[in-house]
């Protein structure tokens, strides 16, 4: 789809039109008119509305506790942000979570000790990510449709592996990661915060991070600049697979059981978090900070709806609407700030 943007030069203007450079935008505009600010504003508004609706929301501990359901998706969404910035997309992480968790469960049932089963699961994440990466970078198929194919494939394999039964009976030290606290912060939230800082630094200050922005802005320019585009993209898909398997293990620990339909529909939640965070769907723009804020926004909205007794099925309406509104808004903002 990227080829659409290459509009040909109009043939009727042979002479070069010299244009005055537009005046630089005032600094406050550069800082304030950006999607992350919108996310932050929405977060503040959502928090205020939620506390009005229910006094529970004034309690930070309550929000942190109720976030554990979404935090696994949020962790994957951090990597998905980087994948989308690089101009690709990965719709298969939710299915990868299911397959790696089912592999973990199967290995455990077959008598493997937990650490070995976890290693199997992480390895499967690497392989699944690499498989996506090969299809996209070596065979150069569009990631959007490849990852739909692997989404079905991975979930199907999980179904083959686990059937329709759930696997449980894990030892008690493995179960209940969401009940382990450091102060009032559950461990998964801590992992999310740590991952956000690490990935934020990676994307913001390392050479690789900056190269990813360049690839997403113009892949052809990046190739001509000598960037190892295919290697970097391959690495991103593998990272996506690895983090999905970690998230899968976290779900297994939280639920104490695994099933093939684990994290069903998670691809929507992950894409929603990334889009709410103001990452540009066509690549090249976006930030980990935005995704970080958006994760909390989603937690507050979803928990708020649950507290307000809106059925989980009806919540789908709001989630879908939010996704569409957020891409429209992000696109509008980037169109404004186009140089």
């Amino acid at each position: 789809m990227n080829s659409i943007e290459k509009s040909p030069m109009p043939a009727t203007t042979p002479r070069v039109i010299v244009r005055e450079a537009a005046a630089p935008r005032p600094r406050w505009q550069v800082w304030l008119i950006r999607p992350e600010v919108v996310t932050l504003l929405l977060l503040v508004i959502a928090a205020i509305v939620a506390t009005r609706l229910s006094p529970f929301f004034a309690d930070l501990g309550f929000i942190l506790e109720s976030s554990t359901y979404y935090i696994e998706f949020a962790i994957v969404a951090l990597v998905l942000t980087i994948v989308i910035i690089s101009g690709e997309i990965d719709l298969s992480p939710a299915a990868q979570m299911a397959l790696s968790a089912c592999l973990f469960g199967t290995a455990f049932k077959a008598g493997a000790p937990i650490p070995v089963a976890m290693a199997v699961s992480l390895l499967s994440g690497l392989i699944m990510g690499a498989f996506n990466g090969v299809l996209v970078t070596v065979l150069r198929l569009p990631s959007i449709i490849v990852t739909i194919g692997t989404l079905i494939l991975y979930r199907g394999l999980a179904q083959v592996l686990a059937g329709d039964k759930s696997i449980s009976g894990f030892p008690s030290w493995f179960v209940g990661i969401d009940y382990r606290m450091v102060g009032i912060v559950p461990v998964p939230v801590l992992i999310f915060i740590a991952a956000s800082i690490l990935l934020g630094l990676f994307l913001g200050i390392t050479i690789y991070g900056r190269q990813i922005y360049q690839i997403g802005t113009s892949e052809i320019a990046a190739i001509h600049a000598g960037l190892r585009v295919r290697r970097i993209k391959m690495g991103l898909f593998i990272a996506s697979g690895l983090v999905s398997s970690i998230a899968g293990l976290m779900v297994a620990s939280r639920l104490g059981s695994v099933r093939y339909d684990l994290a069903t529909g998670g691809e929507l939640t992950m894409v929603l978090i990334v889009m709410l965070g103001g990452t540009y769907i066509f690549g090249g723009r976006g930030s980990i900070l935005g995704t970080f804020l958006a994760a909390w926004l989603l937690v507050i909205i979803a928990t708020g709806m649950t507290v307000a007794n809106i059925a989980i099925n009806a919540q789908l309406t709001v989630m879908g609407l939010l996704l569409i509104v957020s891409i429209i808004a992000t696109n509008a903002i980037y169109a404004r700030s186009q140089r």
């Binding site: 449709i145 739909i148 692997t150 199907g156």
Partner: protein, 328 residues
């Protein structure tokens, strides 16, 4: 080139070979697969996919994708089912009109959002997939349309007709024929191909991309709505949490197998019909071969990927071209 040689060079020939090979291999392993009874079961299994596949094919040809058809199918089936349940005195076609029109309306919304805001259809329809599913839960009050609420004549459409072939099969192949006429002989049909093969050139040739694209999404929605009625006829119930869930992936698998390129501009009704038949045969063959139904999704996923690689290979001029030019 003589017609026979042309026939063999066509993409459809490859799919036909795959279909024949598949049937032959399965029949060798399990001779009772090769029977008119199997043909009957396959023909009964495909209308649902075929009708929606015609819509999805047009969307893919226009270089878009519609992930929301499963939810549209569910929504239309629920809407029509509620008409049947709450107003049993109304004739059958009112239910059909409600189903098809509600599907068309939802498809129209997809097309509008995609074209007005110039957004990638995959993300938009991922959003509406969730949005429409939520709406159908609200509309139905999370209640199922029970078998005794589905009118008897509708159920009979999935069983028989005056010429002994069930009505839903006739409708499905009728839709396929109409789609072929539309895409081959109407101006708008040709414009869909033009938009998909070169979205930059299309407006320069005076094609009004926006209305045509919206029309394509609307048709896809309407056909998914019709599929919703076929679902109600064939299964005799509509459940808000089950009907149409994951359906989009089955349809995309069928269309991609049928040689429709996800890069737009390429695809034929004949290929899609063959793709649907192949998928239907796989569906029917699995239990006969004693393969667990759990394999179905894994096989669909695998088939999509293989079809993508084949499509890529064909366009790159064979495997050698693919690997040689892989350097970018």
């Amino acid at each position: 080139m003589n017609p026979i040689a042309r026939l063999f060079r066509a993409r459809e020939a490859g799919i036909l070979v795959m279909l024949v090979l598949f049937v032959a291999v399965v029949s060798l392993i399990q001779p009772r697969f090769f029977s008119t009874e199997t043909l009957r079961i396959v023909l009964l299994a495909v209308p649902l996919i075929l009708v929606a596949a015609m819509g999805q094919m047009m969307v893919l040809v226009a270089r878009h994708v519609d992930l929301s058809i499963g939810s549209i199918l569910g929504f239309s089936a629920i809407a029509a089912g509620m008409v049947f349940r709450d107003h049993p005195e109304l004739p059958l076609f009112v239910g059909f009109a409600v189903g098809v029109l509600s599907g068309a309306a939802l498809g129209f919304v997809n097309g509008l959002v995609v074209t007005v805001f110039k957004l990638p259809s995959i993300i938009v329809t991922l959003g509406t997939l969730s949005l429409y599913r939520g709406l159908l839960f609200i509309l139905s009050g999370s209640k199922q349309i029970d078998p005794n609420d589905i009118p008897e004549p509708l159920i009979r459409m999935a069983q028989t007709s005056p010429i002994d072939i069930p009505w839903i099969v006739i409708i499905a192949f009728g839709v396929a024929f109409a789609t072929w006429l539309f895409l081959t002989y109407s101006q708008i049909g040709r414009q869909i191909y033009a938009i998909g093969s070169n979205p930059v050139a299309a407006p320069l040739r005076g094609i009004r991309v926006m209305p045509v694209t919206i029309l394509v999404f609307t048709l896809s929605g309407a056909l998914a709505g019709l599929a919703g009625l076929i679902y109600a006829a064939r299964f005799g119930y509509v459940n808000p949490g089950i009907t149409g869930v994951g359906f989009e992936f089955t349809v995309i698998a069928a269309v991609v197998i049928g040689g429709v390129s996800i890069n737009g501009g390429v695809g034929s009704v004949l290929g899609t019909v063959l793709g649907v038949l192949l998928l239907g045969s796989v569906q029917v063959a699995l239990p006969i071969l004693g393969v667990s139904g759990f394999w179905q999704n894994a096989i669909y996923g695998g088939i999509i990927l293989i079809a993508l690689v084949i499509d890529r290979t064909v366009r790159q001029g064979g495997l050698r071209g693919l690997l040689a030019r892989g350097g970018a």
